[in-house]
């Protein structure tokens, strides 16, 4: 369907909802085409290609809400969509805070945000398969101990996102991405380890070279070989950017407006307080061209913006949609996020920790005995209490150098103490997705082992 047609359809769905009795309505339509090629041990394994689309509707009748979605955009499908949302308003409770954003909050960023590249849709299938093969080959041929592989894949997606509401907002944007990854298996005697590396960009030209991806993945798998389990002890812990990013995910959950108003976050009620060490500045920015958390407007039609969440250790703002903001007596920060349907949830733009001055090597060099974490496992983070306990693997730091591989251990602490205990932040900030962090050093955590 053409862009115009889908945009008209969204506005038509809103009108039909109003005609059916809704006092307000919001419609999201998403359309996308996906492609995926997997190769393994130098042979093509899977090829997948398809397109799909769907529409979601949320309505209000007074302060009662209802929501529906469908993948059937036929006239009957749309009629059913409208009826389904309307009938649900009967069972929801009147909620004084429910509603669309205030009229002056609607808006969209102008100019090219670099979210879409024509070249993605034009890439040739054979070329994409070849690119994946080159990445895997670079891993396989880099060391005799790389004896096996879980393969390599090249994926791409192009999509169109449309949003319209009954207050006159109508907007749309296109997006694209492609990604290349490989996951080699290293073996040395009885020890077998796997790791991966990937590159992701809005257009093909933004990807790292296939050979680099393969070599990085191989290097990562190799350095995990012959890992040992260390004694239980308290030591400084360094998170490399890939694992540091997960700490940003934890901070996001803690400043998530819904968790905050429910007091389901260890950062609830701490606005203006010192919650992290001086070097910690955390930003959410949905306006940075070319990055993955960028969009012209959020999923309620509010223009994307930059929000300082933590500034030099002080908690400055939560991330909110309209609902959470009203519950907290604040203003939306343009962080509404939803799939096709339901009430808006909260998401982030580009959510990152500002970089520091030391290189990762300098940070490691200053540690006589510590743990460099390259992999985290499991879900042992309780954002209510801040309790943190996760499975970990990585390298042991001995006298300022990465000395040997460690696995089957845990790291534990409490996020309250961990954020205050950040002693160093690396200069190596890089965006490989919408959440990013440079290397982080925590003063002390418990490593659970033997």
């Amino acid at each position: 369907m053409s862009a115009n047609h889908l945009s008209e359809l969204a506005q038509d769905i809103v009108k039909r909802a109003l005609a059916a009795g809704a006092s307000d309505a919001e419609c999201t339509i998403a359309e996308g085409e996906e492609f995926s090629a997997n190769v393994r041990m130098r042979e093509l394994e899977n090829l997948k290609e398809a397109g799909s689309r769907g529409a979601g509707l949320r309505i209000l009748i007074g302060r009662h809400t209802g929501a529906s979605y469908t993948s059937d955009l036929s006239d009957d499908g749309v009629a059913h969509l409208v009826k389904s949302a309307i009938e649900l308003a009967d069972i929801t409770t009147e909620d004084p805070h429910a509603g669309l954003p205030d009229p002056d909050e609607f808006g969209t960023l102008e100019g090219d945000l670099g979210m879409y590249s024509d070249e993605v849709a034009e890439l040739d299938t054979a070329f994409k398969i070849e690119t994946a093969k080159r990445a895997e080959e670079a891993a396989l041929s880099s060391d005799p101990r790389i004896s096996n592989s879980e393969g390599a894949s090249f994926d791409n997606h192009v999509g169109r996102h449309i949003f319209a509401n009954s207050r006159g907002f109508a907007g749309e944007y296109r997006s694209s991405y492609c990604t290349l990854s490989t996951s080699p298996v290293a073996r040395d005697g009885e020890s077998m380890e796997r790791d991966y590396w990937y590159t992701l960009a809005r257009g093909f030209s933004g990807l790292e070279a296939a050979e680099h991806v393969g070599r990085m993945a191989a290097r990562r798998a190799l350095r995990r070989l012959n890992a040992v389990k260390v004694e239980t002890q308290k030591v400084p812990v360094v998170f490399e950017p890939r694992t540091a990013r997960s700490l940003l995910d934890n901070i996001f959950e803690a400043v998530h407006g819904m968790n905050v108003y429910r007091e389901e976050s260890f950062l609830a009620g701490k606005l203006g307080e010192k919650v992290a060490s001086d070097g910690v500045t955390v930003i959410d920015d949905g306006t940075l061209p070319g990055l993955f958390g960028t969009s012209p407007f959020d999923d309620e039609g509010v223009a994307s913006r930059r929000t300082v969440v933590i500034e030099r250790g002080v908690l400055k703002s939560y991330l909110m949609n309209t609902y959470a903001a009203r519950k907290l007596g604040m203003k939306t920060t343009s962080n509404a996020s939803r799939g096709l349907t339901g009430n808006a949830g909260i998401g982030h733009g580009n959510f990152f920790l500002e970089k520091g001055v030391q290189t990762p090597e300098q940070i490691i060099a200053a540690i006589p005995n510590g743990f460099y974490v390259t992999e985290l496992m499991g879900f042992g983070v309780n954002v209510v209490t801040g309790d943190y306990s996760r499975g970990a693997a990585g390298l042991w730091i001995r006298n300022g150098e990465l000395a040997f591989a460690v696995s089957e251990v845990t790291i534990a602490g409490n996020l309250n103490d961990m954020l205050r205990g950040i002693e160093a932040i690396g200069s190596d900030l890089e965006f490989r997705g919408s959440v990013a962090a440079p290397t982080i050093k925590m003063g002390e955590m418990t490593v659970g082992g033997k």
Binding site: A67, I91, V185, E264, M377, G380, V384, G391, E408, G448
Partner: protein
């Protein structure tokens, strides 16, 4: 249900001849095998928060996935439009994987044997919303009434009715109607000055709405969530290091799912990337351990009459008295490994390629009295509730997060212990199982398993089990 009664024949007018034509189109470039997977799914969800029903949503999704296998290669395409020209287009895209002369085949589609594990006349999705909304309201009231220290309650009721049709070039034609419902409750408790603590409970399965009215009521789940939140108010920090761990019965069976289940999925083993690869017939657990994956238990969340490749599900013994006995197979691995089907080919939806997956994974009961197991431990940890888990297939290392535990001191349960991750190595951890209780229990029906981006509902179960050595990841 027969093909002729299915929504695909009755509402969309799809005939056997159509299916054979689409399969023919899929194999038009050659290839060894093709299948079609039609799906029509209706979902609904109702949420309560702050005693207000703040969200209610329902939706419909439908589509068809076409797969062609040629040697080790798979071509896959799907359409969310069931119009014949769209299905033919998907079949042609999938066909490109094969590049050999087309074999002339006639697909004599026959409906084979299947179970009738969830004979639900009216699926929860088909009942009135006015009945279903009461479930979250009752849960909210019951959790708040449980204890005055409960200050936040959220409950979500969600159900879906998935209708599927699988047609394969080997002539298999399967239709199934798969109802699923779940109620989850989360409660926050606080006492003077202290930080809040959370408790969580939930369950359901492939049953009718009566289940929540007569067997596992909203009050049951609400009390369980509130009880856990209150218990955690006085909890102390978890210890760190290796110790004796006793797992309570039921949901702690997630240990098996992570420690052995994933590692025994045939795709990883066919590729030789699992820590269990090449260990068939070897001892991988203490002889007290017999681990089964059973997709045929009536009304369970992880059960299916047929898997997502149209094969009847089965009861598969993975580990028998400590010895590795079997892998979980999908169509592709069966063909390549020349193995028998285990009915384990599953996929999240029509937009996904099937993979070997678990159904309901549990350990058979042993002979020990659960109380005697706890009495036998001078110092250790008793874990009764867990959050999620994860495994690194290749190294075999797995974790799972204990959300409610108690210290065992001199054979008695003492203080409650806060969140702690447990970590172990799959082929090693179960060798330290020294006692297995006679109290096998399956979980209440809340598990969702993720693998390579695809989520499917699963079940787990375990009796009380004593593991002599496992690493606990606390701070104390």
């Amino acid at each position: 249900m027969q093909f002729s009664e299915s929504i695909f024949a009755a509402r969309f007018g799809i005939t056997r001849q159509d299916l054979e034509n689409y399969l023919g189109e899929a194999l038009s470039q050659g290839g060894d095998y093709a299948d079609l997977y039609f799906e029509y799914q209706v979902t609904s969800a109702i949420g309560i928060d702050e005693s207000m029903v703040k969200s209610a949503a329902q939706g419909v999704s439908m589509g068809v996935g076409v797969r062609v296998i040629s040697g080790e290669r798979t071509g896959y395409a799907y359409s969310d439009d069931l119009a014949p020209e769209k299905i033919r287009k998907a079949a042609n895209v999938a066909a490109h994987i094969a590049a050999a002369p087309a074999k002339v085949e006639k697909f004599d589609l026959n409906e084979g044997h299947k179970h009738n594990l969830y004979p639900v006349l009216m699926a929860p999705t088909e009942t009135a919303f006015s009945e279903r909304v009461e479930l979250v309201k009752r849960a909210d009231r019951a959790a708040r009434a449980y204890d005055s220290r409960i200050f936040q309650v959220q409950a979500v009721y969600a159900d879906n009715l998935r209708q599927v049709l699988v047609a394969t070039s080997e002539g298999r034609l399967s239709v199934d109607r798969q109802p699923l419902a779940r109620l989850s409750v989360s409660a926050l408790a606080r006492q003077a000055g202290g930080p809040p603590q959370r408790g969580h409970a939930g369950g359901g399965g492939r049953m009718d709405l009566d289940y929540f009215l007569k067997e596992k009521t909203p009050e049951h789940f609400a009390h369980e969530a509130a009880r856990e939140a209150i218990a955690m108010l006085d909890a102390v920090e978890a210890p760190a290091g290796e110790m004796t761990v006793v797992l309570g019965p039921g949901w702690p069976g997630i240990l098996l799912h992570e420690a052995v289940g994933h590692g025994l999925e045939a795709d990883f083993n066919r590729k030789g990337v699992s820590a269990f690869s090449g260990r068939m017939g070897q001892k991988v657990a203490s002889e007290l351990c017999t681990v089964v994956d059973d997709g045929t238990i009536g009304n369970r969340r992880g059960s299916l009459n047929v898997d997502d490749e149209g094969q009847p599900t089965r009861r598969n013994v993975l580990i028998e008295n400590g010895v590795l006995r079997g892998y979980l197979q999908d169509k592709l691995s069966c063909t390549l490994l020349k193995a028998e089907s285990t009915g384990s080919g599953r996929r999240e939806s029509y937009a996904h390629i099937p993979m070997p997956r678990m159904t309901n994974t549990f350990m058979m009961a042993g002979e020990s009295d659960p109380e005697e197991i706890i009495r036998s431990v001078p110092k250790g940890l008793y874990c009764v509730n867990f959050g999620g888990g994860q495994v690194d297939i290749t190294s075999g290392n797995f974790v799972f997060s204990a959300s409610e535990s108690y210290f065992i001191e001199d054979g008695k349960l003492t203080r409650a212990v806060r969140n702690a991750t447990l970590i172990g190595n799959g082929p090693e951890a179960l060798k330290y199982v020294s006692m297995v209780g006679n109290d096998l229990r399956l979980d209440e029906g809340i598990g969702t398993c993720g693998k390579e981006g695809q989520s499917v509902p699963v079940g787990v179960g375990i009796p009380t089990v004593k593991i002599d050595k496992l690493t606990v990841g606390g701070t104390a």
